[in-house]
Every structure is written in C-alpha cells, then in structure tokens.
Subunit: 347 residues, 2 copies
Amino acid sequence: MRATTIHGPFDMRVEEVPDPAVREPTDVVVRVLRACICGSDLWAYRGESQRQPGQRIGHEFLGTVVEAGARVTGFVPGDLVVAPFVWADGACEYCAEGLQTSCPQGGFWGSPGSDGGQGEAVRVPFADATLVKLPADAAFDDRLLTALLALSDVLGTGHHAALGAGVTKGSTVAVVGDGAVGLCGVIAAKRLGAERIIALGRHQVRTDLARTFGATDVVAVRGEEAVAAVRDLTGGQGAHAVIEAVGTEQSMRTAVGITRDGGAIGYVGVPHGSGTGLDLGVMFDRNIALRGGVAPVRAYIPELLPDVLDGTVDPSPVFDVTVGLDGVPDGYRAMDNRTALKVLVKP
Amino acid sequence: MRATTIHGPFDMRVEEVPDPAVREPTDVVVRVLRACICGSDLWAYRGESQRQPGQRIGHEFLGTVVEAGARVTGFVPGDLVVAPFVWADGACEYCAEGLQTSCPQGGFWGSPGSDGGQGEAVRVPFADATLVKLPADAAFDDRLLTALLALSDVLGTGHHAALGAGVTKGSTVAVVGDGAVGLCGVIAAKRLGAERIIALGRHQVRTDLARTFGATDVVAVRGEEAVAAVRDLTGGQGAHAVIEAVGTEQSMRTAVGITRDGGAIGYVGVPHGSGTGLDLGVMFDRNIALRGGVAPVRAYIPELLPDVLDGTVDPSPVFDVTVGLDGVPDGYRAMDNRTALKVLVKP
C-alpha cells in the first residue's frame, strides 16, 4: 500500500510500504477513508520532535474494517469505525479508569513498527477496545464523515481541555490558541454550558470560526496585551476556566495571566521549549490549578458521538483544505505556513 | 505592648511596639494566648523573603477579644477566638466562594502596617468575617488550645493540600515533607478516608509522628531513591494523590515522579528557588494535575473545628517546643537548625 513517511525535517514522502495484515488475533485492518494532519505533526515536520527516517505518521483516521482477527468480537469486515489517536488494550487499570493514554500496552499511530493514519490502511491492535463503530450510512455523508474524524483527536482533546479547565454551566472561559484544538475547545466549552467564551487568536478566519462555534469575544493580541484585554473583559479578574491549546512557553504564560484566582488551566497543547511558562509563585498566590495532558479521547467518544451524529456539534469546518494521499506533503507545507488550518486527507 | 520584629536576616527581636486599638468599627483587638512560628517564617528569617526592618511577624494565633468596634456583631470582649492566617472582608466574590486568600481587602498578619501573631495583641480587621469563635472552656485545656491553634494555618493547609491532591475514601496518598504542614497533610488525608499514606521524610522523630497520625509507610530517602521507593510500594505506578508540603524545586520534582498517571499533586509548600521542578512534558504524558496554593484556611475552620474539639483529630503534637515571647528568637534558631519541629509561643 501507499503511506506517508517522514525522512527528516520538511521531508515528507508518500511511498510504497508493506500492506498491513492481522498479526495478533485481536487485530483488525482498517482501510482509511479519512485522515488528517495534526498541529502536533508539525513538531516532527519541523524537526523539533525526533523521528526515525522512514517512520510513518498520522494519528487520526476513520475507515472501513477489511480484515478482523479470530478473537475480535466487536467488528466484522465492512464496519465503519473511528480510531482514537492511541490504541489501548481495554483490560488494564488505566483503561478501566478511562485513561487509555497510559495503557502499558497502548501506543501511538505512527510510532516505530506501527502504521500511521496518513496512509491507505492501518493495522489496529486491540481492536475491540480501541475502535468505535459508526453508523454505516455515515459513509455516504461527506460533511458528517469529516465531522466524525474530529473524534479521533481534536474534538476529544478540546473536551479534555474544557474538563481540565473546569468548564461548567455558566462558566466564563478563555481559550488560548486558534488552531483546530483551540477551536474544538470553544465547541466543547459551549457544549458544557459556558456562558462566555473568549477566544484568543490573531487570524481572523480562525477567530471568525471561533465565533461560529460559540465564542462571545475575541482577543486578537498576544502576551501582556492579551492578558490586559481578557482582564478588561472580565472585570479585572480573568477567566475561571482557561483552555491552553498551543503548548509554548508564551502561551502558558498568557494562560496563567488570564486565569481568575481559584480557577484552572486545562492544558492540551503538547509542551515544547525549555521553559514551562509557569510562574509557580503567581499560581500559588492565586490558587490556579493546572490539569490536562494528552487526552484519553477513546474515553470521550461515547459521550461526544451522539452529538456529532445529530449535528448538535459540528467540528467539520476546522478542516479547510482537502488533499489526496499524494497531496499530504503539500498539506504539511500549508499547515506549516498557516495557509491551512487543518488538512483533511482522502486517501 | 511587646511583639516580635524582624530587622534583617537572623535578626529577630522582641521589643516594645504601639498598643493595638480599634481603628475601624469592624475591628477587634485580640490578646494573644497562643501563637507559633511557621516554616514559612523561616524564609524571612533566612533573608530569602524580603521584609522591612522592624516589620512584625507571625501569622498564626488564637486569643481573647479585649475590644470590639461599634459595628462588630459577632464578638464581645472575653470571647475566645482563632484567626486564620489572613484577614478578609467576607463581603466580596472571593470570600463568598471560600477563597478568602484572594480577598482584595484581605491581608497577611505581619504585613507592613499590621500586627503580627508573635506578639501580645493583634488588631483584627473585618473581625466578623475573619475570626472564628471557640468554646470558652477550651481556654482551660492546654492540649486542646494548642490543637486549636493549628486551625490558624497548618491543619487547614494540610487539608487544602489533601483536597488539591484529590484524596478520597480509599486513596493511596504520598506526602512529600515531614514538617508541620506535611504532618497535617497526613492527618487530613487520614481524615478524608485515605487507605494508604506514604510519608516521605528523613527525620525519624517526625516520621514516627507521621505514623501516629496515620501514615502506613515511611520513605526515608530523597530524590530518585525516594521516587523508586514510592513506586516499589505502589506496584510501580506511584500514588494517585500526592501532597507537596516543602516548596523547593527538588521536592516538586519528587512529587511529579511519585504521582500515578491521572493523579494530582496538591501543593502547599510556598514555592522557592528559580526553577519550578515541574517537568511539564512528563506531567502532560501522564495527565498529572497540579492544584493548590495558599490555603484559604478560613473556609475550612467550620468543617475542621468540630473534629478538633471532639478529639477526632489532634494536631497538637506538631508543636514540640514551647517558648514565651522572649524566647521567640531562640525558637527561630531551633526551627532553622531543625532541632524544633514547630515552636509554640505563649506570650
């Protein structure tokens, strides 16, 4: 089959790789119908995260089961399924608690030895625990299929951030970051009943989308200016719930600056850089909590899926550029130079 | 009256200062019956926190009301009262939420212009909101009076840490720090139903006390060795709830290392040093939360007081040395060189 590989910084290729096949009786093979490029893939693209030359990439996909191992009970060939961005065994303590990202037998798509989502097919370990079945007729609804793809990462990650930030009915929420995860944080905050949602971002196309998703205010400046603007909007106090969806030192510093005393930062931006951006003295004096991390999206799919299916939430507009498999390297370039928000891949 | 003043690093004096008096109609004046020296006072003592020469000090006290302003409704002269370590107006949004430490009109005893607890008397602003009345007969029970003094800081701070760490019935808890706050963290964890409490500390007198308070295990090493030991005790996973009661970079690093994936660090050690000790990448990968800060102990006194009064919890053994007012400078020396755990002051 053909799949995307990474050979070094800015060197993405689409090439012939071995066809995936069932190896363990708990595996299935999924033919990919939709995949996408994640903001976090750009860390590898830019060489800021190490990859082995030729390693696969892509951790978000949905598709059709084409082969199922002998011990797979939940899926048969032909089933439409979505995969969370990690596989997990469904049998350990962490999986039982809904923290599938800490499963000792789990792993990330695209890690050495596994298939990546940005290819024609993927071997899925522990399929019964990992995959979630989708209604068959969704395959014929292009918009819905795209929205469902967001369940593999960005929608669940936005939800994780909103939970970490402690969003509840009536909350005032601020969202740092206007990428796909930040925008899904807006969707998640709105869905959880936030009354006021302040989106921080400097790209009007994106902040316009944030407004569509439920943002009530937009702050289009950065750093100290952003902190001042959010404080102005919140009676000087800051937001009780802050979603940090970038992962840089500066964005975390902004997040601390705009959090109300006693509030929380739900952080899901993959941390990058040498410093944390956290002023622990300030957080201590103001009782600001920090909660989040890599989102166990598998745990959230059952809750979020019905709302995507019935259209209550529709994250599909975060995908603004569509490419075929051969267009994946162009897709990386477009996301790297921010001409694309999030690139959808139709292999 | 006479009170403790700080004139520079290691220069504590007991000297004549102006008698406190009611200035605002919401003030009372309290004659101090019991005060004490806090581990956090040592930061000032050592010159690591700045103080103005001659500034008062001491933020923990209980005593008898000797004068009450015209608008004070809750107290009359003769009442036995305990003060939390900050005063607060009881009228703002933060006070209503139980975050009195963020009250815009609040302040710390011993801050410039205010009396400190380590003196003969204290002018108490916003007395109705700040003070809590104690049963009059407690004044005749020396042990109980000492236990009640812990409500002004260390017991409530330990409780705040336990809540931040997410201690619930059946929890496995680890406590970093064998000072008075760490020991009160053990008491608080036990009180909240923790099943297993691992105390980290290298001073046997203190860890023995931790066992008395409910610790089931003691880890008497530091750093990487401590991390390995706690992991050994917890099936390799670490503790779900970790109390950080020191505030140094190393103690925070240990706290991160011993927290189970998906767990939380409740931190109440006043942060010191240039680094945070937080490896955000590790916390992200393992979904470790950080919650805590300066404890709003006023909010906790109503819940903790009955348990102290009926003896369900007894923090009085954390006070191991008693001095009169003239002995306060010696008390600082004893705590600084760790020959005293926590010094009780009877002015």
